[in-house]
Structure formats: structure tokens, C-alpha cells
Symmetry: C2
Subunit: 306 residues, 2 copies
Amino acid sequence: MIERLPLNALRAFVVAARHESFQQAAAELHVTAGAVSRQVKELESRLAFPVFERNAHGVRLNAAGRRLAESAGAGLDRLAEAYREAQRLPRAGLSISAPPSFVQHWLLPRLAGFDARGEEVALEASEVLTQPEWDDGRARLAIRYGTGPWPGVEDRPLLSDPMFPVCSPALLERGPPLQEPADLAAHTLIHVSCTEPAIPTWRHWLDHVGAAGVPAPVQWHYSLFSHALDQAIAGRGVALVGRVVAADRLDSGVLVRPFGERYAFPSPFGYSLITPAAGEPPPLAVRFIDWLMGEVARFREGHPGD
Amino acid sequence: MIERLPLNALRAFVVAARHESFQQAAAELHVTAGAVSRQVKELESRLAFPVFERNAHGVRLNAAGRRLAESAGAGLDRLAEAYREAQRLPRAGLSISAPPSFVQHWLLPRLAGFDARGEEVALEASEVLTQPEWDDGRARLAIRYGTGPWPGVEDRPLLSDPMFPVCSPALLERGPPLQEPADLAAHTLIHVSCTEPAIPTWRHWLDHVGAAGVPAPVQWHYSLFSHALDQAIAGRGVALVGRVVAADRLDSGVLVRPFGERYAFPSPFGYSLITPAAGEPPPLAVRFIDWLMGEVARFREGHPGD
DNA sequence: ATCATAGGTTGAGTATTCCTGACCCTCGTG
DNA sequence: CACGAGGGTCAGGAATACTCAACCTATGAT
């Protein structure tokens, strides 16, 4: 009988039954209300009886629908619990979650120096600036960009992240003069935006360097530092970025700081290593953390700024 | 979490786990072993760990797989039970299961005479010659073609079904002579086959009429009397059929009995009305049975042969 | 050593299912 | 009358599931 179960229709129904709303069920299932409507219709067709009473302002379970929702819901909950438990099973390997630009511009270039000794390491680029809700059984670490603190987890600050303008050498040489902050008014400004939480903007930076009266409309907004860096390298403007992701590009010369070491904004945002508050980290995680701390120390030596 | 469950993969896995065989799971699920293999692979990919140990001669659950199979299986069983219970809920209407040819050639032409009074009647053509396993909550009747008895249900014989040859009038007039059974050797024979149970064949008929020595290779086999009747009407040969489904065509003259009323084979197969052994039939079912018995009586009057 | 068989795997393509977007409906409210 | 809310459905597209065929390994028979 299992083979004949209309599983997708039953799931849509159970969620719709719980809400007594196709709209809310759709939101929970990440589909449109039309999709829920169809699935419920399909179920009613197979059962040859309705499960909802319908009227213009919504649906309500009928008696048969309620019975089915209760028992089918129990089955689905059991199934979900089984799956969740399986996901939490401990397994070999390491799972690391870190901001995409950090991964690309800081972690990956150094990661070759870490010897996983044949164990599986999963590197997950994650744009969220919140602490992760780990849901698999792999040993897990997260590197997060934010202001901290990070409640409920073990929080180890890695690197502070002062912010400053960067641009391509060509723009500096051939573009409008760029010697003082006021000169930025004649340039295209590139910014990395994030509204929640609000990372520092050009406005913050200008206020900090005493150029509060300088108008500085930003023409370009990007959600990733990677993209802002790429556009700056391409000469399309001056980007306000953090030193961690910019360091290698500055070292290599494809980006320059137009005002030299001056005018760094001491951003409250920085990178932290987050680990679960409880439990003994497995050896692979311990080795990774040791390696990471060594790289962080090396970076600090080569780029004073904390 | 329910929205993220890979339901189809979990179902394939649970069945494969029960059998510890993708082949057997495939058979139960009515798919190919390749489909089961893919679903299990998909599940393992999402969980990031294997659930089976594999070798060349088959699969075996590993410990993690066993745990998941047990709890997920419980969830699916719960879901299946909920669905089954819903299917069994009593509902208005009547469900009638009957052989396709009987429906087409006997029941439908008469059914206009039955007043359902606005209630829903579901007529299900069913080729199976076994007693039905009713699985929905509608009041249910079945008409079955067979030899009986039908254990565990209430069995009411309706019509016996002597078998005899029929052909088109044109074939009789213009074809090879067809006056005695031996003449059949010069004709194309049409037969309705069913191996389980074995309904009477031309061989049985010839033996019965004392023509055991007459060779009679059957050129055409059909699984439905409908098709055999149609081919006979089209003049493509002589069909051995039962009187119940042939009656209307004989009455209308599009088919004739080449040997007249002679040589009817008293087949042990006949039509029976089957109802559940327990429970009080609802009024609609009672009315339908009364109507059916009336039609059966009328048929018997017009076509002596019991 | 070769061949046949069994069970599982996978590439490529097709079939089926599921979903979306847009437009429609009824009902209630202002 | 207009608007909003919630559900229903057509038509088309996206995603998933499946099939078929060819492949693999291991085992047993010759």
C-alpha cells in the first residue's frame, strides 16, 4: 500500500489542514497557493470525498479531513523525526560554514596548507550573518562576519576588519585626483550593502575621516565583497571594503589604497570562529582550528591593523 | 521540516530496506531496479552517508540504514494506515465492479432503466476473475464471471453462460459451408483466452459436440469477449462466446448462431452477484440489486438456456 | 579460461508530476 | 462600486522520476 500513497498530496494536505489556509500552507511549503490547491484537489479526487469545506474567504477542515489530518500528520511527523535523527547521526568529516567572500579571498588561497589526511571537509559558503543552526552530524565550525557577541555558542574572535577605500592603480593614476577624501565626490563609489545587520557605509567612513560635508552618492551596491572587489579591480570605481578580503589583492598590487594607510575606519564588524558550546570537538576539527589560528597569526603579522 | 522531506526517496529506501534488494523493492513499487537505485542514491547524497553496504550480489542495510528504515518505515506505515482508513470511510454512492464485456454488452444497455435518484454510482470495469478486495467506503457490489463458489462473501448466481459459436450472417451465407461442427475446420476460429482460470476453449466445445477428431487451430486469441464479438461481427471468423454477452447481438441480427440452438456447451462459468458477507446494504444498493434481479429475470424469460 | 547469471549502477532520453503566472471566482468591507 | 482576501483553474514551463540499454563485479558451471 505504501507504493500507492500520494505522498506529495498528503504532505500539502497535512500542512494546509494545520493552517486551515492554502496561503499559509503554501508559505510553509515554499510553493504557491495554487500548488497547494491542486494537491488538495488531487487528494480529494483519489479519496472520492472532500476534506475541506470551502467558502469565499477560506477553507475549513471537515470531519473526515480532520481525522485524516491527525493520523496522516502523525505519520509525517514520525517520518520527519526519523529523517532529522538520521541527519544528526555523527559522521566523519568536517563542515565549515563561512561568508562567500571570506572563503574566496582569504580561506581558499590558504587552505592548501591544511592537510585533511583523507577525511571529508565540506566548505559551505553562507551569506547569512547569523550563527548557524547546524543540522547534520558532521563536526561543524562556522566563521561569521559580524559584531558579536554570539550567544549560545563558543565564540573566538579571529580577525578585526577595518574598512578603507580601494581602487585600481590605473584609476588612481589616470582618473580624477584622489588625494583627500573630498576628492571622492568626483568618483564612482562602490559599496557592499547589507541591511540586516547594517554594515558600515561610505557615509560612516566619510563622517569618521572628518568629511561629513562631502556628498558621496554611491552608484553601485553589491551584496558580496567579492563582486565589489572585482569591480574595483576593473577600474569601475572606488570600493569601501574590509582589509581581510582585500589584503591579498593589495599585496599583489591589483588594488591600491588611494590614501595609503590613512583613513582606516575601525569597523565593529570582524570575523569570528564559532563552534558548538557543548561537546568535545573531534580530532579533525581540533587540527583545523589549530591550523586556522596559525594562519590568522601569520596574517596579523603581515597586516598590522588590529 | 516536513516540507524538506525527500518523500519518494524515503519510500523507495524503506521498501528496499525491507527486502534488502533493489530488484524486489522495484517489483513492489512497480518501477525498475534502476529507479530504486537512483532514489536510494539520492537519499544517501542528501544524508551524506550510505545506508546500504553494497557488493556485487546485492545490498545489505548498514547500522545507520537500519535505524532509519525502522523509524521511517514506522512513519510510512502510519501514513498508509491513515490513508487506508480514509479510503474506507463510508460515503454516499455505490461502487459496482463487473467484467468489461459484461458491462458493455449486458449491463450498460440496460442501466438506463435504473434510477440512481441523484446518488453517485461508480461502474468499474474489472478484468479480474477473482473476488474483489474492496478498499473504499462506498457501498460495493461486484459481478463476477467464474465457476464459484466465492468464499467469504455473499454469492448470488445471476446468469449461467452456455457457450456456442457465433458468426456474422454474411460469413454464414458466403463463406465455406458451416452446417456441422466438422465444417469449422475450414474456418478461422476466434477464441477468448484466459489462463487463470481456464475458461472453456474450442477444444472443449468440439469434444462436447462429438467432434473430438476435428482439428480446429485457433488463429485469434482475445482477452475480452467484446473484442471477439467485434471481430466476429466484422466477418473475420467464428467466435466461441457466452450467451450473456452475445444475446443482444444475436437478437439484433448482427451475429447468428451457425448451428442454431444446437450445440450449446454447458459452461461451468457464469455470472454471480457478490456482496460483502457482513453489514446491512444501504438503500441504494438494495434498490440496485432489486433492479438487477428484475433485469436478470427478464433476460431469462427472453433467452431460455439455464 | 570462458560463459552465463544475478544484482546493482549509470548515461541519455522520455514521461510524468509539480509548479508558476495570470486570470478568474465569491464574499466581505468600506 | 472598488478593493482585498482566499481559493480555483488554464496553459505552459520546470523539476522530478522513470525507462531502456549498456555497463560493472562476483559467483558458479563447464
